[in-house]
C-alpha cells in the first residue's frame, strides 16, 4: 500500500456561532486505506468530513485532498470525491436505476451503472421507487451514488445506522471490496465493532479534537488495556501488584482480583506472582477492545469542559 497522503487536515477549526464543533483537528489519511472517524454524538465527526468534502468552509486550518483545496478547487474535488451523507434521502418516486444513471451523467469518467448495481447486489431493484426500498437497500443505493463517479476518495457518514445485523455485514463486505479496488475510504461511525472490523486506522474525536489516532488494535491496547481476573492462593498487597510492569488498575471483589493494564499483562502478572510464590487459579484474561478504549478516552474528557455540537 502506498503511504502517500490522500487527505491532510491541519489545525482544522469550525465554529457554529459560539459553539466550537471542531477545535484543532489534524490528521493524515493514506491513499487506499479505510480510515475511521469515531467519537460520541456531537464530537465533531460529521463537521470534519463535511469540511473535507467541501460542504462546509473551515474557520481556520488547512485541508488538502489529493493536493487540492476543497474550498478553492471545489469543482475538481467533486469529480473524484464521492460522498454518502448522513440522513440524505432521494425523491420518493425516483427509481433506483434512474438515480444512479442520473448521477453517472454528472461525472466525466463514471462507472457503468448496471455493473455497479450488480456488484452492490441490488440489480433486482433497478426499477423500484426509492420510497419502497428497505433500509439496507436505501443504504446500498446511497453507496452506489457515492461510487458511480468512480471516486478516488469515498466519504461515508453513519453508513449502517438503523440497519439490521445482516444488512450491516453485507455493507461491511461492500466497503472491504472498495478497498480492494483501491478507493480511499473515510468512514464515520459510532459502532466500535464496525471500526474494528473495517478500518486500517482510526481517529477518535471527542469535543472537536483528536484524542487518539492509530490502528484499532493499537488504540484498543493502549487505552482499552487488557484485563486479567484471577484468584490468588494467598492475599497479595496492592503495592506488589502495582510494581508489576503494565498494571494500571486493581479491583477486588470477594476472592477475585481484577487487574487492568497494558502490554502483555497476563504474562508479566503471572510470572511476577509465581516469582513471589503466589499461585493463581480461575484465570480469565481478556484483550483490550476498542469499546473499552472508547469509553475510557471519552470518559477522561467528560471531566474536562464539554463543548461539542451535533450537526
Amino acid at each position: 500500500m502506498s503511504a502517500a497522503a490522500a487527505v491532510t487536515v491541519q489545525h482544522l477549526v469550525k465554529k457554529y456561532g459560539r459553539l466550537v464543533a471542531v477545535n484543532d483537528v489534524s490528521l493524515s489519511i493514506h491513499e487506499g486505506e479505510i480510515f475511521g472517524i469515531i467519537g460520541p454524538n456531537g464530537a465533531g465527526k460529521t463537521t470534519t468530513v463535511e469540511c473535507i468534502s467541501g460542504l462546509r468552509a473551515p474557520d481556520s486550518g488547512s485541508i488538502s485532498v489529493y493536493g487540492l483545496s476543497p474550498q478553492k478547487d471545489r469543482n475538481a474535488i467533486r469529480e473524484f470525491v464521492g460522498v454518502q451523507l448522513q440522513e440524505s434521502a432521494l425523491p420518493p418516486r425516483i427509481k433506483v436505476g434512474e438515480a444512479v444513471k442520473l448521477f453517472a451523467s454528472f461525472y466525466s469518467n463514471p462507472l457503468d451503472p448496471d455493473q455497479l448495481l450488480e456488484s452492490l447486489g441490488i440489480e433486482q431493484i433497478v426499477k423500484s421507487s426509492f420510497k419502497n426500498l428497505s433500509g439496507g437497500q436505501k443504504q446500498r443505493v446511497s453507496i452506489a451514488l457515492a461510487l458511480v463517479g468512480n471516486p478516488k476518495l469515498a466519504v461515508l457518514d453513519e453508513l449502517t445506522t438503523g440497519l439490521d445485523p445482516e444488512a450491516r455485514r453485507e455493507i461491511w463486505s461492500l466497503i472491504e471490496r472498495m478497498r480492494e479496488r483501491g478507493v480511499t475510504v473515510i468512514l464515520v461511525t459510532h459502532f466500535m465493532d464496525e471500526a474494528e472490523r473495517l478500518c486500517d486506522r482510526l481517529a477518535l474525536i471527542n469535543h472537536g479534537a483528536v484524542r487518539a489516532l492509530d490502528t484499532p488494535e493499537a488504540i484498543a491496547a493502549k487505552a482499552g488495556g487488557s484485563r486479567v481476573r484471577f484468584v490468588p492462593s494467598q492475599p497479595v498487597d496492592e503495592q506488589t501488584l502495582r510494581a508489576i510492569p503494565g498494571v494500571n488498575e486493581i479491583e477486588r471483589k470477594e476472592r477475585y482480583v481484577t487487574v487492568t493494564g497494558t502490554g502483555d499483562l497476563a504474562g508479566s502478572l503471572l510470572n511476577a506472582l509465581a516469582a513471589i510464590g503466589v499461585r493463581v487459579s480461575e484465570v480469565e484474561a481478556r484483550a483490550g477492545n476498542l469499546e473499552d478504549a472508547f469509553i475510557k478516552l471519552t470518559k477522561d474528557d467528560a471531566s474536562s469542559v464539554g463543548k461539542g455540537v451535533q450537526t
Binding site: 468534502s53 432521494l90 438515480a99 444513471k101 466525466s108
Partner: protein, 258 residues
C-alpha cells in the same frame, strides 16, 4: 463564476442537463400535482364557464365580452398559479430530505436541478396556453382577436411573475408540511384577486383597483387587454414587472440549498 457560461455550453453540460430534464419530467409525471393544476383543472374550469356562457349568451354587462371571452384569460392565469404553487411542493421537499445537498456533492451544481424544474414548468405553462385557447376557441367559440406580440408578452410576463412568486415560497417555506397549507392560502388569494369569482370589470373601487394591481389580477388584465383590446396594458405590465423584481429579490436573498 468565471467559465460558467463556457461550462453551460459544453457538450457534457448538455448531456447532464438532458439527463436531468428526463428524470425530472418522469418525476413530474409521477407526482402530477402541477400537471393536474396546470392542465386538467383549467380545462375543466373552462368547460364550466363555457357551459355557463352557452346558457347565458350575450355580453357581460357593458364589457362587450361574452362569459367565455371574459374568463379565458382568468383561467390561463389560474393555470400559471397552480403550476407556480406546485414549485415549493417538490423543491422544498427535495431540500428537506437532503436531495439538493446530496446533488451539491457532485460536479453538478444544484441550481441546474432548479433550472430543469423551471424548464419543465414552462413547458407545462405553454401546453396550458395551447389547451385553453384551443378549447375556448374551438369548443366554446371564444372570440380571440389576438395580436400575437402583445398577447405573448403579457402571457410570458404573467408566467415569469407568478413563477418568481413560487420561488419566493420555495425560499421562505422551511418544510414540506408547511408548504402545503401556505401554498393553499396563497393559491386561494391569487385566485380571488385574479377575478375567478368576482370579475373586477363588474366591481366598484377600491376592490377593482386592488385586483388590478395584485400579482394575479394584473396578469389577467394584461392578458385580457392584449387579447380583446388588441394592445398592451402598460399599467398591468409595469405592475407585473415590479412584482417580478420584488419577488426575484426576495427569492434570491433567502434561497437555501440545504
Amino acid at each position: 463564476m468565471t467559465g460558467y457560461r463556457q461550462e453551460w455550453m459544453s457538450h457534457r453540460s448538455r448531456v447532464q442537463f438532458a439527463e436531468l430534464l428526463k428524470v425530472q419530467s418522469k418525476l413530474a409525471l409521477r407526482e402530477p400535482l402541477a400537471l393536474f393544476g396546470g392542465l386538467v383543472l383549467p380545462a375543466i374550469l373552462l368547460a364550466v364557464f363555457g357551459f355557463i356562457g352557452q346558457a347565458n349568451p350575450g355580453n357581460v354587462g357593458d364589457t362587450g365580452l361574452t362569459i367565455i371571452d371574459l374568463w379565458t384569460p382568468t383561467i390561463l392565469v389560474l393555470s400559471f398559479i397552480f403550476i407556480s404553487v406546485s414549485l415549493p411542493n417538490t423543491l422544498v421537499r427535495d431540500r428537506e430530505i437532503g436531495w439538493l445537498r446530496r446533488v451539491s456533492t457532485t460536479p453538478l451544481h444544484p441550481s441546474r436541478l432548479l433550472a430543469a424544474q423551471l424548464v419543465i414548468d414552462l413547458i407545462l405553462a405553454a401546453a396550458a396556453v395551447l389547451i385553453v385557447i384551443l378549447e375556448g376557441a374551438l369548443v366554446f367559440g371564444a372570440s380571440l382577436h389576438v395580436q400575437i406580440l402583445p398577447f405573448a408578452v403579457s402571457l410570458l410576463l404573467s408566467i415569469v411573475e407568478l413563477f418568481t412568486l413560487g420561488l419566493v415560497l420555495v425560499a421562505l417555506v422551511p418544510t414540506q408540511s408547511v408548504a402545503q397549507p401556505v401554498a393553499g392560502v396563497v393559491t386561494f388569494g391569487l385566485m380571488f384577486l385574479s377575478g375567478l369569482w368576482v370579475n373586477p370589470a363588474q366591481m366598484g373601487d377600491p376592490l377593482r383597483t386592488i385586483m388590478y394591481y395584485s400579482p394575479s389580477g394584473a396578469a389577467v388584465k394584461a392578458v385580457l387587454d392584449s387579447a380583446f383590446n388588441g394592445g398592451l396594458s402598460y399599467a398591468a405590465l409595469v405592475t407585473m414587472a415590479v412584482y417580478t423584481v420584488i419577488f426575484g429579490f426576495i427569492a434570491i436573498r433567502y434561497f437555501r440549498w440545504e
